[in-house]
Every structure is written in structure tokens, then in C-alpha cells.
Symmetry: D2
Amino acid sequence: MSQHIRAAIVGATGYGGVELIRMLLTHPNVQITSVVSSSSAGTPLAESFPHLQEIIVDRLDAVDVPLIADKADVVFLATPHGVSTEIAPKMLDAGLKVIDVSGDFRLKSAETHERWYKRKQADAAYVDKAVYGLAEVFGDDVPGAQFISNPGCYPTVTSLGLVPIVKAGWIDTNSIIVDAKSGVSGAGRGLGMTTHYSEVNENFFAYKVNKHQHTPEIEQTLSRVAGKDVVMTFTTHLVPMTRGILSTIYVRPIVQRSEDEIRELYRQYYEGRPFVRIREQGKYPATKEVWGSNYCDIGFSLDERTGLLTIISVIDNLVKGAAGQAVQNLNLMMGWDETTGLKFTPAYP
Amino acid sequence: MSQHIRAAIVGATGYGGVELIRMLLTHPNVQITSVVSSSSAGTPLAESFPHLQEIIVDRLDAVDVPLIADKADVVFLATPHGVSTEIAPKMLDAGLKVIDVSGDFRLKSAETHERWYKRKQADAAYVDKAVYGLAEVFGDDVPGAQFISNPGCYPTVTSLGLVPIVKAGWIDTNSIIVDAKSGVSGAGRGLGMTTHYSEVNENFFAYKVNKHQHTPEIEQTLSRVAGKDVVMTFTTHLVPMTRGILSTIYVRPIVQRSEDEIRELYRQYYEGRPFVRIREQGKYPATKEVWGSNYCDIGFSLDERTGLLTIISVIDNLVKGAAGQAVQNLNLMMGWDETTGLKFTPAYP
Amino acid sequence: MSQHIRAAIVGATGYGGVELIRMLLTHPNVQITSVVSSSSAGTPLAESFPHLQEIIVDRLDAVDVPLIADKADVVFLATPHGVSTEIAPKMLDAGLKVIDVSGDFRLKSAETHERWYKRKQADAAYVDKAVYGLAEVFGDDVPGAQFISNPGCYPTVTSLGLVPIVKAGWIDTNSIIVDAKSGVSGAGRGLGMTTHYSEVNENFFAYKVNKHQHTPEIEQTLSRVAGKDVVMTFTTHLVPMTRGILSTIYVRPIVQRSEDEIRELYRQYYEGRPFVRIREQGKYPATKEVWGSNYCDIGFSLDERTGLLTIISVIDNLVKGAAGQAVQNLNLMMGWDETTGLKFTPAYP
Amino acid sequence: MSQHIRAAIVGATGYGGVELIRMLLTHPNVQITSVVSSSSAGTPLAESFPHLQEIIVDRLDAVDVPLIADKADVVFLATPHGVSTEIAPKMLDAGLKVIDVSGDFRLKSAETHERWYKRKQADAAYVDKAVYGLAEVFGDDVPGAQFISNPGCYPTVTSLGLVPIVKAGWIDTNSIIVDAKSGVSGAGRGLGMTTHYSEVNENFFAYKVNKHQHTPEIEQTLSRVAGKDVVMTFTTHLVPMTRGILSTIYVRPIVQRSEDEIRELYRQYYEGRPFVRIREQGKYPATKEVWGSNYCDIGFSLDERTGLLTIISVIDNLVKGAAGQAVQNLNLMMGWDETTGLKFTPAYP
């Protein structure tokens, strides 16, 4: 009751924002009190998203910090890169709790940020304040935090697939190759040739090869867990589907462990974390098996012929890779059960 | 509390069954106590549907009426055509409430059933007992019923688009043409050439032209509402997508009414029924705008040039066209609010 | 030999243009001598379309009429609406043969053009000169013409499905309802929300209901064939696929004919026209069955219950609905066999 | 003229067979004289594939060796695994030229074949006789051969991406990791859960991880080229599209070469081979850019951070990965230009 909080969603006309709305609408402890958009302020949200007709009848607020601070306790920033850099500090200064779904505050090194994002990072004081909310790994940092930087989609699916074995020291951390594949919704609602239907349908291609800005975010997590610098090879591909990410991860073990022992290592690491599910021997997760839900499913194949370990990890990029994990971080921040409002069963088929 | 009931789902390895599970898992008044399958009895459900791993760990029960009657208060039959004919009577005799999602008990005329389904109908005593659960139209029949025959997917989307204007007597009931388009999941999980990926992807075609078994079901509803026999033209097409049905309906008005008056007629007819949403002038619903939800969205275009009225109606075939409406019927049957456990926001995109 | 001609393609960076290139590259009597684009002039075509790497190494020419008149004998205009209005007259005055794939010169009535296209039509002298190249219907007008206006995609598939029975006087011409469905490539390469992948994939919707600018083009053809004004109801839908159009056409017969007699009527009408194929009783064409080819396939269902005739007609919108029919018109214009260079077997699956 | 030959296609009701038909119908030196199917013998081919109506009106022949030997000079075997083992020897003994598109004769080691295909290999005398027709690599073996074993789809796209650099000795042959992704048509027309539309659409998953039977075929090619045993890691994934394969290949260079030098190495290796196209720096091929054509397009990224080289290679699995390369082998076998009848421009979009 007293735990009930009021939430504002900035960037409500984007895919991350609208997925936050879907998640929060049925969250028992949260009330959406403001939907915010710089581009469509003053119009009803259902004009941008007719599926919300008669569900959310509110008009969109402008990005007006005092107004939002007045209407809400927590604000979710589901904004394009660069916007949070400007507005998150103001929101924080106004006393709001902030959960930033963008990439602006994820990297702790300003230099690395600038190299990969090709723009200057936010004020260091606020970057320092941001808690990186990879819930199953660094979730202990979240309770009581005011400011969460929510992990990216590729970093979530990839880091969850790698952290237990990296932490255990069982693999050569110089050997990591991540071949990742994403649905198109990850590119957002902004128009572009690589999201144009006739170009993407019945097509498959790689993009940003060795250049994806999520690379240093994954390396930062793995380095933190490993206690030493980790550099990896990372390739991203576009799959002709809307939602879902799958990372196929190749690593070279340096200690002799059976596939079952590896599976057991992961089971123990994620014990008590309901959103990570480990597959049985010979079973590999499909993206559809987590569609619309906050799960991350992981499978393994240790190849006797080459000695390499293949790890396959999947999430729904808009849920566990964005809105769902943001709500999970809100739950942890508030001291609620981390599954509160997140018990979405995958929609199958 | 006392309202809590135990539910069994027969046909849990099909798409209708698994969607019932998704809906019922978060229903506050229902507990799933048995998942039933004739073909996979004894195996864990998650073996058939890995997306349910750690969500439902139960093994599938066989179609054993005493067992089900012992474990459950209500049983949902999401079985292939012909199966309910056999088992629904036994379930009813055992005192279970039954909600049949198949087509076996929908038609009141045994002769019509046999002509369109090419098989004999069930025992007439049970057919008589079946309440046809088109919730927004015949929902008043449902409270207290023991046996619900849940409408088909095409009949739901089409009837909801036609009933108000047919009932008002505003159109020539001999003029109705329904051009319907469905996603592939309506065909179920059984294999076939017209559900084979490489045949369906990047393809669009009509099937069962003037022969679809849902034709008499729609005509039965419209005739009942009109108070006279209605015969219509009905064509079904397969869309290369998984979920969603859209019916484009053409009718000839016989009384002079503006498009706004027609819209108002529908608004009044569906007043207080939260799952039907009427679109504004010039707006037409897309199937994605109801994806995963129990909504039926309807739009209109009255053509000044030809005088014809075009009605466009959409649902998610697995939700409002099957599992969702079944749960809605359970709610009505039990005297609960009809939206209980059904507040799924459409998943967009 | 002496029949060999040189062709220029204006709008080579659009889907219509690039499909013309695919068709003409293997045409035995044609040499592509200029690829033209206003937006990308000076760059290699393969930069816009990497699939043409090492096939066409030419740089794009600007829209320079003297240059084109110097390099080519015939010019194909695959340009956005409004461009041909400006440049076709200049091309014609320069002595070029012109085949216009846009809608600018299709309608003979300036008033109708302006009402539906919301822009003024071209100079009437040039509109008069334009021969409407619906090859199987008005093909006799084409030999020797200098200027062809190539039919639109919806008009081609729909008119070919209707002309024989309209001409025969077997149906009530006030009863025609056309429910058409198109793949997304018909909308071209220009970006927009209704061609954005995440909005279109796993979605189906109607657009421009009773407002599509192809409506008067179809009516013009039917009126010409019927010898009286024909007005019809026309709805267009977007299918989540790249290529293909299917029209489901509903008409009311006014003379008693069997389905076989109707089929025979069509067979006779299209005798000697190899690109129209009539399906057997109970068989309906799928868009994939003409994918990549110049065929139009047509099937029929005469419903005994309602007396209505359903006609189903399919084409590949980019081939028979654009580039292929344009080449067919070139063949007819030049007195070549109409299949020259057009023997593309549908690519299946 | 005298070079004209008669061709039979066994397995004409499968996707490989029907693609062979599409290719051979416009081949200037070939006449299809028999289409053969064990399952549908006696029925018209167009009953199985309506897109061939009025194109091929022949009825399917049974698998009758004397009949085929009488009607044809060359026979293409596009049959399920195991069938060629039985019939290829008989065809060869009857004096036919045989091009086997199946996997039965690709592996030279009977033991390896049995381990990966889980069935005994064909008679060793015939295996020895089979020339492995990877045209751009081993094409010199083909002229004059009677019996060609046509490479698999994954082996073609992967081997063409690897052979030049393996042959040059520039990489550690123990470091090769191949992450491959295929459209669904590669699984053929036979029904199955992993080709069921609702299971595959809007889904992405790995299959046969470290177990795909194409693994030893690629290793055989690489070992032959390297002059030593090569063992690699190979993962296959299913993409929700019909056609196309992309292999992302990771290798560790052992000699210092720039990305441009690597590109130049490939250009030289494939000089004079028109079906392999090398992409410029920073450009990576998409599967759609080869759709329907016999091209293999290859791009490169040498990562300065990790030192690894990423090679991306694409083909149309049904063309260069099956029917197209089979025709290319026929051309080489007969001493014709290897592009004869194969100048299909990719169909885009």
C-alpha cells in the first residue's frame, strides 16, 4: 500500500517506452502517472499507439522536469542515445528515482564511451552515481540506489551467458567469440533502410561488424567479474523477426570440466534467480520460448572434437533486454520481490 | 477465496491449450490442477513446450474422466474436432463445468453440422445443453451454465463486426460478404503442407472458398439476432503471420444512416463491454493492435460512391478467438467481472 | 539484329527500376545503355543495390533528356508520382519511345486524376497520346505506339480477373466488390511507418479504404470494356510479405452460367495470351505461384448458396504489375513475340 | 547444336528438383525430357507444383532406370539422403551422366560417412568415381567426368569463404569457428515440427549443434586444400526466411597481413570465376543480395583489437547451394562456359 509508487515514462512513443507501459500497467505496486514524449507532447498516446486505445487515454506530457517531479516518484528514460545525458541529471537533482534504459550511463570510462558512441559522455559525477543494473549479476548494488543504468539488450543476453564461467575462471578469457543475432525491434521505431520491410524480410545480414557500441559494455562486465581485462570478438546480425536475441558464444575451457559440471555451475550461480533458466543436455533455447517474457534461457554444448564450449543464450530484447529488466531493477530498488509484476508467461506461438 | 476454482485443460499440447495456460496462470481466481493430453500423457508438459520450463513442471495426465473430475472443477476442452463429441458428455455427467473450445457443439442443427463438418454431431441432449458463449452478444445466457460452447475464431471476429447493425435492421441481410484473413496458428500444431514454412512464408492465398465450416456458425448467430434466416458469402485466406484475424465485411444499408450514426450504434451496443473497441472515423484496426490480448477492434467506412458499408474487425485468433474468450466465459459463468485475469495489454510491436 | 534497341531506365534506384534491370539484362533484343536517378546521379548503381555488383558497373546518369535521347531509343520511367508529368513530354519531344510505369498518364479524365491523385494531371495533349498498356486487353493498341502508360499493380490483377465476364455482360456491373491484398514492395523503397519492419511484420491491416487512387483506373478499364459506367467497391490491405498481390473479387451473375462455362469464357478470352493461366475447378492461385514471373493466375468459385461468383486473381506486383508488363509492352510495341525476354519461371519456394 | 543434351530430374517434387527445373528450362543447351518422382509417379508435375502449370505439362515418371536411360543423357538426383546410394550406381552402369545433389557420395571416408549420417555409405567403387564438384575450387576435376557429387549448401558457402586463406597458409587451421545460418527451404518439403510455420516464424534457434552432417564435408575440403587435417567448430541456426545461407567465419591469422591483402588474395584466387564476388572494405553481403542467383558474395573484417579475422559469406542455398551449382557442374562437365543458362540476376527485393 505505502509501497505504491507513481511512475513516469519518458520516450513513451518508442518501442522501449511502450513495452514499459505494457509491463507497468499490471504491476501491483506501480501507477503510471505520466507518459512523456518530446516529439508528440500534447497528443493522446493512443494516437501514436492505437493498441492502447481505451487503456491509456492520457495525453503525452512534454519533457518538463518540474512537472514530472511533481507527478511521479520514479522516471524511466526510454530515450534515444544522448537524451539521458541531458535530462537524467536534472531528474536526479529534482529528487526523482531514475532508471535509464539508454546507453548513456553504462560505461564507466568516458574515453571508452566516446570511442564507441562517437559522442561525449555525461557529467562524470552522474556516471559515477549510476548503478549498472544487470540484475542477476550485480543486483546487490541496486537496493536503495537512486539511479540505475539498465543494461543493453546484447550485453544482457551475452553477459548472462558468460558470467558464471568467466567468474569461475574455467575459460581462456582471450578466446571469447560472440556471434549475436537480433530481431528488428532493437533498432527502434525510427525509420531507416535497414528497418525498411522490403529490405529486411527474407533477408539476413551482419552489421556493425567489430564495431557495435555494446562491445565495451560486455567487456566491462566480464572484466569486472574476471578481475582482469577481457577483450572479445563480437558480431551482430539482423534476423527477419520483430523480437528476440540469441547469442552463440564460443569459448575455450582451460580447466577440464564436463558439460554437466558446467551446467551445474550455472545452476548454482543463478540459484534463486527465477528469470534465468538452464536447459538440459542436448537442448538449446529458441527466442520464441522467451517471447514477451523476462526470461533468459541458456544451453550448452561442449564439443569433444575441438574442445570448445558453445553457449547459447536467448532473451526478448524488449523485455529482459530493456523494459522487463528495468522493472526488475525497480523491484530490487524498492525491496520488492524481483518478479513483482513480471510474471509474463512467454506468448507461444 | 471461496471463489477459487480448480481448472483442467485437455489438449494442453496444442496452441489453444497452451494459450489457455498462459491466460490462466495469472488468473487470480483459478488454479491449474491438471494438464491433459491423450498423445503425450505421462511426459512433462515442458517437453512439448520448452517455454513453460520451470513454469509448469507437471506431467500430462491422460484423458481420464474420473481423475479429472477429482482434480478439477472446470475443464477446458481444446481438442481437435470430434474429440469433445466423445468426452464432453462424460465430463458433464461427472459434474464438471465444461468449456469446449472446439466446434463440436456450436451448431444447433445436426443436419447443418453434418453437412459442413462431414461428421455426425454429438448427442442432441448435450448439444441442447451447450450455451453458445459469444460473450458480448449472448453473454446473458452464460451465468450459471454448466456447459459452454466457445465460439470459433472467424465467427467471433465476424459476428462482433456484424451483430449491432444486423440487429438494428439497417442492412440488407442478403448482401453480406465477408472476406476474412487469418494467421497460421489457427490451423493448430498439426503438420500439413499449408502450414509448412516454405510454402506459407512470402505467400498469400485463399482456402476453403465458400466451404469453410465456420460459415453456418456465423449465419446461426446472425439469423438469431436478425430473427430471420441469413445466408452470406464467406472467403478465408491465409496470411504469412502467426496470430491475428481480420474480417473485411461488405454490407448494403437499407436505411439512410451516416457513418457516425453507425459508429454510435456500435458504441451503444457494446457499452460496458470492455473488450470491444470502436475506431474513430478514418481509422481501421490492425491485427497487431490486439496481438496477445482479448480485444476486438472495429472500424467503418461508408462509401458515398457505391453506398456500401465496409466494416473491418480484428482479433487475436488464439485469445479472443479461443482461449481468451473461454476465460471470459468462465468469468461470466462464475459471476466474476468479465475482465478478471484478462487484462493483457496487446504486445506491440 | 536490326531489332536490337538501347534502353534507359529512369528511377533505377527504386524497386520498379531495379526489377526492370533484372528483366532487361537477359532480354535478347535490348541493351541497357543508361541507368538514371535524380537522387544518386554520379554514383555507381551497385552502391544503391549491392546485388548488382559486377553485373551493372555503370554510374547513374542524371535526368538529362538530351543525354538520354543520345544514349537510348526507349526510356522506361519508373519514377514517383508526378515526375513523369514533367519529364515524359520532354522525352517524347526528343523522339524517344517512352514506357511510363507511374500513374501519371493512366487516367483519361483530368478531373478524375486530380480528385484521386490530389495533383493536377499532365498536359492533355500528352495524356491523349498515352496508350494504356493492359497487354491482354488493349494490347492491339500498342504496336507502333510511341508512348505507353503501363497499368498499375492493383488494376492489372483486378482488371484481368474481371474483363472477360464484364465484357460478356454476364454480371451486374453495379455489384462488383474487390478485396485486394498486396505485399509491401508495392509501396516502394521510400521510408514510412507503414513500411517499417516492426510495424508490418506479424501484422495485417487495411489502408486507403475506399480511397485508393487505383480505383478509377480499374473503373476506367471496366467501363471501356462494358460500354457503360462502372463503379465498384475497392479495399486494399497490406500483407506481411515483399511481393505479390491477390484480388478476391465478388460479383453477382445476371445470366445463368455454370462455373465451367465461366472458366471456358476466360480460357477463350485469353487464348493465345501465355501470361494468363486459368485454374481448374476447386483450385485457387497463391501469390507464390507467380513470384518473380509475369503470370497472372485466376481461379473461380460460384457459390450455389448465395449465387455470387468469387474470382481470385494473383500477380507479382513488381513483374506483371510493373516491370514485366512494361517489357511485355515493349515487345508488343516493337512487334516482337510478347514473351521475348520474359520467360521467367516463378521462383518456388 | 550437337551439344544439346537431354536431362532427367529425379526428385522433381522436392525443392531442389523444382529449382533445377527453373534453371534448366531456360538453359540454351539442355532439354528436360523426364521429371521423375517415386512418390507421385503418374501424376502431372503441376499437380505437385501449380506454379509450373502450362510450363511443364509432363506427368512424372517412376524411378525406372532403363526408361530414364532411354529418355535422357544426364540425370540429376535431387533425392533424400540414402536414395542416391541405391540408384546412382544403376544410372551410371546404364551409361548416364549423373549429377548427385544429395550427400550420399560426398565423403570419401566410409567411416566418416557412417559416423555423421548414421547410415552405411554406398559401394566404395562408386564413391571413388564421384568427383566432388565444388566448382570454383575443384572445378578442374569436372570436365569429362561421368559422375559428380554436388556439394552441400553449408559446405559451399563455408568452403568458398575459407579455401583461399587456408590454401595460402595464412591462418591457424585449428582456430576455425563457423557460425552458419540458413533459411528453412534447406530442410526440404518434408513436414516436421522445425519447419512448421507457427514454430519457425518470429523465431530463431540453433540446431544440430556440433552434430551437423555437413561438418566433415567442409573439413574434407579444407584438409585437402591445406594438405593436413583440419578440424573446426560448426554451429547451424534456422532463420525465419525461405532461402539464403550466411556463414560468419572466425579465424586466427598466423601471418601478418592487412585486410586489403586478404581481400586481394581472394580476388586473385577467384579471378575468372564469375560467381564469386568480393565486397569492398566495410561492406558485408546480405543473403537477399544473392537471392535466386548462383552468386557467392564474401566480405571481411580484420579486428585490430583481437587480431581475429571475420569472414562473411552468403549464397542462395537452393541455387549455388544445390541446383545452380549442379548446372554449373553440368556446364563444366560438358565443356561449356560455366555461366551458360545461369545468368540469373538476384531478385531484389
